[in-house]
């Protein structure tokens, strides 16, 4: 397919600009010449070419509305269209953030109630909705922890993070000035309790745990973990990225979690936006509420208002009030499913992951063989040994069959990892078709490894030279 620049012909245009009804001014008269350039080479195309170009590009997109998207640890669940309809109501979309509160009572009510729902579902004292995505939620959570120790006059310099953590955990901690200490996993994929006990000293602010972890396994020793961290005065932080596994089954607050961030664009079926807008609410235990970002919605009688006066708050982390329309979608999801529906969603997500695990276990290595939660992690080690086919080849071969591949090479502690998260929206037929494909690829890897190593064969763009792209990146297109 040609680039829009290649389709360009001098003089072609998709619009006609009416003749100026004011006196024309030469641009060089009003803008300094040093700020002007004449080599910008913008594409010039007719409307029909413009429309065809972008329509063709859009047809090459792959998303949850197109097909199965089992990207592990990302919870790429289908986004019910009712979420979109509700969030597009003009009362929401036309509301200006500076509108007086008396004109935005409904929106404030939604934020207030969403906080209450999340607090109830996760067993936390309160939530802040301001963070714009999961990673910012993490950062906000760690800032709250830092503030908490500052107020207590304690100097703690380290944060413990298991080796199965999302990469954002150490990044958030380091951004707040903490040094990161890794806690290794034990043989069954949980936190090594002995090592945790050793590392959890008085200068450690806390532990950032993901439960279920990125192996898709529930931390069986969570009560013991909580006891060890708390006995030394530390804070137990939970990365709630995998919350889709336990809604209605257990509450992090009951497990001893003090701070948790959620990813509304995962668990609560709001769109994943390739960088935004997302939403990463942070929930905390009671004595940490005073540190949450401002402003916060409060309720006085039947009226809602903004309150800025929380002197121990970490301050503002996002312009205005966060990504409000994303909150509306999550609110709609919670209200349309109800408590029973949310629990069923988690149960089905766990069942689906275990179904895939059982159907594929004869064909792919399963390094941690336990009942899994919302995702299962295989290893392509057997394929590498048998025929030199790597997990990346298997993933590329899936493209030929019309699937978005699962997450690969993560978590890092599993060599040649294949991390599959089907989530609850998929039917048994979809799961079976996917498993049949994975089995077919395992057979191909054995019988015809060259085929798998040269995949994808049917996509618009064939296999890229990743090494050349990384070593000699050439990201600017230029006319020859």
């Amino acid at each position: 397919m040609e680039l829009i620049f290649e389709k360009s012909r001098p003089g072609r245009t998709a619009t006609t600009i009416p003749e100026a009804d004011v006196p024309e001014v030469a641009i060089t008269d009003i803008i300094n010449k040093s700020l002007l350039r004449d080599d910008v080479d913008l594409p010039e195309v007719a409307e029909v070419d413009l429309i065809r170009h972008y329509t063709q590009l859009s047809k090459r997109n792959f998303g949850v509305d197109v097909g199965f998207y089992p990207l592990g640890s990302c919870t790429m669940k289908y986004n019910p269209k009712i979420n979109e309809e509700v969030s597009r109501l003009p009362g929401f979309t036309s509301l200006h953030p500076y509108s007086p509160v008396k004109f935005s009572q409904g929106s404030l009510q939604i934020m207030y109630e969403l906080r209450q729902y999340l607090s109830e579902i996760f067993g936390m004292a309160d939530f802040a909705l301001q963070p714009a995505a999961g990673a910012q939620g993490e950062l906000t959570g760690v800032m709250v922890i830092k503030k908490y120790f500052e107020k207590k006059g304690q100097k703690r310099t380290k944060i413990l993070i298991p080796d199965t953590a999302h990469g954002t955990n150490p990044a958030s901690s380091a951004l707040c000035g903490y040094s990161v200490v890794t806690v290794r996993s034990n043989a069954e994929g949980g936190v090594d309790i002995g090592q945790l006990r050793e590392l959890m000293t008085k200068d450690v602010a806390g532990l950032m745990i993901t439960n279920p972890n990125t192996l898709g396994l529930f931390e069986r020793n969570i009560e013991q973990v909580s006891e060890i961290v708390h006995r030394r005065g530390g804070i137990l932080y939970c990365d709630g990225a995998n919350a889709n596994a336990f809604m209605g089954a257990t509450k992090p607050g009951d497990l001893g979690i003090d701070v948790i961030q959620l990813n509304l664009h995962k668990t609560f079926s709001t769109p994943h936006g390739c960088g935004g807008p997302g939403s990463g609410p942070v929930g905390v235990r009671k004595d940490l509420v005073r540190h949450l970002p401002v402003p916060r919605v409060i309720k006085k009688g039947k009226r809602y208002d903004w309150k800025y006066e929380f002197p121990d708050s970490i301050g503002r982390v996002k312009t205005f009030y966060g990504n409000f329309n994303v909150m509306v979608k999550a609110y709609t999801y919670i209200r349309s499913l109800g408590p029973g529906g949310l629990k069923k969603a988690s149960e089905t997500a766990v069942l689906n992951a275990n179904y895939i695990k059982e159907r594929l276990r004869a064909w792919y290595d399963l390094p941690y063989d336990r009942i899994c939660m919302h995702e299962c992690v295989f290893s392509g080690k057997r394929q590498v040994k048998e025929s030199g086919v790597h997990t990346s080849d298997i993933a590329k071969r899936l493209l030929d069959y019309g699937y978005h591949p699962p997450t690969i090479y993560f978590p890092l502690i599993v060599p040649e990892a294949i991390m599959i998260e089907p989530n609850e929206t998929e039917s048994k037929e979809t799961l079976d078709a996917f498993c049949d494909t994975m089995i077919a690829i395992a057979k191909e890897a054995k019988e015809n490894p060259e085929l798998v190593k040269s995949a994808p064969l049917t996509t618009v763009v064939r296999r890229l030279d990743e090494v050349k792209a990384a070593r000699e990146p050439d990201v600017c297109w230029g006319r020859v």
Partner: protein
């Protein structure tokens, strides 16, 4: 298959090698087994000269098409020289991990720390076990 591990140096469990170059200095890099696991290396972040490092703490970063990994310092000490060629040609680590693909030279704080590392035979045994 990776190349044999030369007997003239010591090895860490994180797959670094350290070669005693006399006068309290060592030359270090990652093993051939490590580069094989990483696959094609596309970037090496070298430590600054003068940087103080502790044994088995991160001192450099290697990035391959597959992953980004820390390189751990086999001994405590100070970085006195780095292999500048890797800035332009990271693939040298793939081609010759034990030779031209060295990463840095260090002045050791305590040469006795070398005793914490494995000899070639034990390291070879360790990676054999990992494969099972």
């Amino acid at each position: 298959m990776s190349k044999p591990n030369p007997a003239d140096r010591k090895y860490s469990k994180e797959h670094e090698w350290a070669m005693d170059e006399g006068a309290g200095t060592i030359r270090m890099g990652i093993t051939d087994h490590a580069q094989e696991l990483l696959t094609d290396i596309v970037f090496v972040e070298l430590p600054a000269i003068g940087k103080k490092v502790k044994q088995m703490e991160p001192m450099a970063v290697v990035e391959s098409v597959k992953s980004v990994s820390d390189v751990f310092s086999p001994v405590s000490g100070e970085v006195i020289e780095v292999n500048k060629e890797l800035e332009e040609h990271p693939e040298v680590v793939n081609e010759d991990a034990f030779g031209k693909g060295w990463i840095a030279k260090l002045k050791m704080d305590d040469p006795a720390e070398l005793n914490n590392l494995m000899d070639a035979a034990r390291y070879t045994e360790m990676i054999k076990e990992e494969k099972h």
